[in-house]
């Protein structure tokens, strides 16, 4: 046990505005060390004025500073650390010029080729400077040879430099640029599809600069049906270059954590060698065991981690490897091994002999906890919803809002005209007209909504907003940024297959994402299933089961007489599809059932019109689920709310999905309900099919069987878990690791 009191475990000297390859190394080191539990002080050695092209600190580096184990050291600060790691590429300034004092038990200098070249030219001044600045960091100084693969040619010079500076060379070359998280558990043994090779790429960060000529793209990303091309990440300019998306290409705007598993071959498409060398995506693809095909001149940088061809030869090489399984498997194995040898986790092996094996630092102060704004004694959270076709957005947020702890004060800001319902629960609200309601052109409405959101944020000064909607509006994002409102996204899954994933790229704007769960998640094949950026909770319903009225109470309130059986028809707001025809058909079919059935029909708070039928009781109750126990079964649409409410309340249901929704896959929910034995799915709402379904549903024993199946599958309401997660995000901020 050491006698020292450490302020941090590791001091990392690095230019935050470094070039691609150096920065990848720094980034990988920081991430690995933080994940291993070390407390790290980061000292920026960017040299002012000499790196104009790299003036901005890349977002992935700044994101690391959100990790609570990495903090930026300011001038004048002083630290005692276990180890100092000095990344000293030629573009950086020396540790002494940073104004930060570090006393370290050991130090590692990571030197690049340019430094070596200066030394090799017998630049005594450079050598002396280096010796002096490194000796300042502490005892037992070691040196590692550089990181940048581009410096491999300079290794002899680097070795001489290490010798001349009387440092002790580490055995390994510091070439740990492969993110350990990307490493495939096992190499591929065969292509995914025997017939059609899958080729494509993913993008890390902004959209790259593609070749100027369309033909250069088509050479490596074929447009014929005998290839399956998949692309993950921003691609607007790429499609613009081609004029349209070829039919054999599947384009996604965001990258999910498992997307590389859908490719056999990875091609950079770009033709700028420097861009390829610096692209972290290349390394991720190699680490995933893909067959990465690069231009020949890249061999010196990526060795046997990739295979090489000219642009014209990419297809031939891929086709050959695809056909010959052994060659495919061999290369995948080589790629994974190549990445493993250079995995950033190996940094820990380098530090272990120096005695730095675990965190010993005691952080004097915890990361600053948030305090309510404006001197208030409670946090204020704005629950923001889009307009939506039904009540889903509002109801999900209401489910959370009414479970928030006392120290959090909810206020609703909604684009839904149904927002006054929140007043029933005691919440204040503001309405902002949606694009549809204003009839404005998108660009006009964006400006309008930004102005309105800003106005409300400026007045109410919420600490955090939680947005429930599929598409976070530009106006909302801009207003929140301008008014300093932290943001959380309540993003449900169950997107229809094929719905573009561009909205998911908005995730970077949010401090946290909460995903309300889905009872029918097994049939979810939408865009959100590719992501793992959300905190998922069980399905949300506004009321807990314990809050429902008992059967006797509910029946009494609704006036159901002894012997009568209640059936509720609730087909949504009808704002997207014409439900009046379907409602008429359902009512007609139900009326044919005769006694003892008594029919109730909901009047949705958001519905544009009111429908009435003779002999049918119209209900204007929100939330209607409170009366669930009064009904023997329901005929319902399969929007998020209705679906989960009837499932939670264990009410057998004839499901009629609304297939006109833009994003929500109501059809999948309905199919799942039937598969799970908790309802009947009717996608074609004709009189015959509804009558047939009703006849089956009302046969003796059927409803009872469904009810008991619902009891078996019942899970606790996820609303409390969602509220707890939101509360943590509000009070403690984002905890990234």
């Amino acid at each position: 046990m050491t006698e020292h009191q450490y302020d941090a475990d590791i001091a990392v000297y690095a230019p935050l505005r470094g070039r691609g390859a150096e920065q990848l190394s720094v980034y990988a080191a920081l991430k690995t060390l933080a994940r291993a539990g070390f407390l790290i002080t980061l000292i920026d050695t960017s040299r002012r004025g000499e790196t104009p092209a790299f003036a901005a600190v890349p977002s992935r580096v700044t994101e690391l500073l959100s990790v609570d184990r990495i903090f930026l050291a300011g001038p004048g600060s002083a630290f005692r650390v276990q180890t100092a790691i000095v990344f000293r590429p030629s573009i950086s300034t020396g540790p002494r010029d940073t104004g930060v004092t570090v006393v370290a038990d050991s130090a590692v200098a990571v030197l690049d080729g340019a430094m070596a070249k200066r030394a090799a030219k017998a630049d005594d001044e450079a050598l002396e400077q280096l010796r002096e600045e490194l000796s300042g960091t502490g005892a037992a100084l070691r040196a590692a040879l550089s990181v940048a693969a581009s410096a491999v040619d300079d290794l002899p010079a680097l070795a001489r430099l290490v010798e001349d500076t009387e440092l002790t060379a580490l055995e390994d070359v510091w070439d740990f640029q492969f993110p350990s998280a990307a490493l495939a558990a096992q190499p591929r043994t065969a292509p995914l599809d025997e017939q059609v090779p899958r080729i494509g790429r993913h993008v890390v960060g902004a959209e790259p600069l593609w070749p100027e000529q369309e033909i250069d793209v088509r050479r490596v990303l074929p447009t014929t049906a005998d290839w399956d091309v998949r692309f993950y990440g921003p691609h607007t300019r790429l499609i613009k270059l081609l004029g349209r998306t070829p039919p054999n290409w599947r384009m996604h705007s965001v990258v999910g954590p498992r997307d590389l598993e859908t490719l056999d071959f990875w091609v950079p498409i770009v033709d700028d060698p420097q861009a390829i060398v610096e692209d972290p995506a290349v390394r991720e693809a190699i680490a995933a065991g893909l067959l990465v095909i690069l231009p020949f001149e890249m061999r010196r940088h990526f060795g046997e981690g990739a295979i090489y061809a000219s642009a014209a030869g990419v297809r031939k090489l891929a086709r050959q490897r695809h056909t010959e399984g052994t060659l495919f498997a061999d290369q995948s194995r080589r790629a994974v091994n190549y990445a493993r040898e250079r995995s950033s986790d190996r940094i820990l092996d380098v530090l272990a002999p120096l005695g730095t094996t675990e965190s010993l630092a005691v952080r004097e102060s915890a990361p600053p906890a948030y305090a309510p704004r404006e001197g208030r004694d409670r946090f204020r959270v704005a629950f923001v919803t889009s307009n939506g076709a039904g009540m889903g957005h509002l109801t999900r947020l209401l489910a959370m809002a009414r479970r928030m702890p006392e120290e959090i004060e909810p206020v609703f800001i909604s684009l839904s005209q149904a927002v006054p319902v929140v007043a029933k629960f005691g919440f204040p609200y503001v309405y902002i007209a949606s694009k549809n309601e204003t009839g404005m052109k998108p660009s006009v409405w964006n400006a309008y909504s930004e102005s309105r959101f800003r106005e409300e944020f400026a007045l109410l000064k919420p600490d955090v907003l939680i947005f429930d909607g599929t598409w976070p509006y530009r106006g909302l994002l801009n207003a929140a940024a301008a008014e300093g409102v932290r943001m959380v996204w309540s993003r449900r899954g169950m997107w229809r297959e094929g719905v573009a994933d561009r909205a998911l790229s908005a995730a970077v704007n949010f401090d946290g994402i909460i995903q309300p769960g889905e009872f029918a998640a097994e049939l979810d094949c939408g865009a959100t299933t590719r992501m793992d950026d959300a905190h998922e909770v069980a399905p949300l319903t506004i009321l807990d089961r314990s809050e429902l009225l008992s059967r006797e109470e509910a029946r009494e309130h609704l006036g159901l007489r002894p012997g009568e059986r209640g059936v509720l028809v609730t087909l949504g707001a009808g704002n997207l599809n014409n439900i009046s025809d379907t409602t008429s058909v359902v009512v007609e079919a139900l009326q044919k059932l005769g006694a003892p059935w008594r029919i109730f029909l909901t009047n949705n708070p958001i519905a544009a019109g009111v429908t009435a039928f003779e002999g049918v009781d119209s209900l204007d109750i929100y939330p209607i689920v409170e009366y669930a126990n009064a009904f023997d079964f329901t005929v319902s649409a399969t929007g998020y709310n209705s679906f989960h409410e009837w499932v939670m309340a264990c009410v057998p249901t004839l499901w009629i999905p609304n297939l006109e929704t833009q994003t929500d896959d109501q059809g999948a929910r309905s199919r799942y309900a039937e598969l799970a034995g908790v309802g009947v799915n009717v996608e074609d709402p004709s009189y015959e099919s509804i009558s047939r379904a009703l006849t089956g549903l009302t046969e003796p024993g059927v409803l009872e069987k469904m009810r008991s199946r619902l009891e078996e599958l019942w899970v606790d309401n996820g609303a409390s878990a969602a509220a707890a997660r939101l509360s943590t995000l509000v009070k403690e901020g984002v905890v990234r690791s």
Partner: protein, 179 residues
């Protein structure tokens, strides 16, 4: 005396201006213009992009549901009969769904009670005044029509008709709030 500052009356009680008084003091009824540069849902008017439409802010603050309904019917008739106006309803009410029937856009204003609960130190009159001024600019409103406890005043109607160059007797469009 400014309507925005609560003043003591002879008996010494607080004389707090109501929503209509605040609105009248906040923005002039006529802004020396006849048309609006911002196109939005015209409701019963013919075309959203009709640049000849004159935008009217119909202000209903602290107005009862019965008066609201009467004012909506009045405005609907006015719009139908003239085909010259585009309406934005400025409201602190909960009847958003009712307004939707007419196809008008709503600018919702935080109600006095909600503001008091959320921001006790803020004065609703001042906040609402600022809000009205901004929305008039934002939507390039040409006329402001304020409803009070009895609905729309005859004089306001006649002034508006002069502004939009329409001859429309008040009796042809006025509705009496239901008791």
């Amino acid at each position: 005396m400014s309507l925005l500052s609560p003043a003591l009356d002879m008996e010494g009680a607080l004389n707090v201006p109501n929503g209509a008084e605040i609105a009248r003091a906040a923005v002039p009824a006529h802004r020396s213009k006849s048309t609006s540069s911002v196109a939005f849902a015209p409701g019963a008017a013919s075309d959203r992009n009709d640049t000849r439409l004159s935008t009217i802010a119909l202000v209903l603050l602290e107005v009862s549901p019965a008066v609201r309904q009467a004012v909506y019917e009045y405005a609907y008739a006015l719009q139908r009969l003239t085909q010259k106006i585009r309406i934005v309803v400025v409201s602190d009410g909960a009847d958003l769904k009712e307004v939707r029937r007419y196809g008008w856009m709503v600018e919702h204003v935080l109600s006095r009670s909600d503001l008091a609960a959320l921001e006790p130190s803020k004065d609703w009159a001042e906040t609402t005044t600022d809000r009205l001024k901004r929305l008039v600019e934002r939507l390039d409103v040409a006329h402001v029509l304020v409803a009070d406890g009895r609905g729309i005043a005859r004089t306001d109607h006649e002034r508006l008709c002069r502004d939009i160059k329409s001859k429309l007797p008040f009796e042809a469009v006025a509705r009496t709030p239901a008791a």
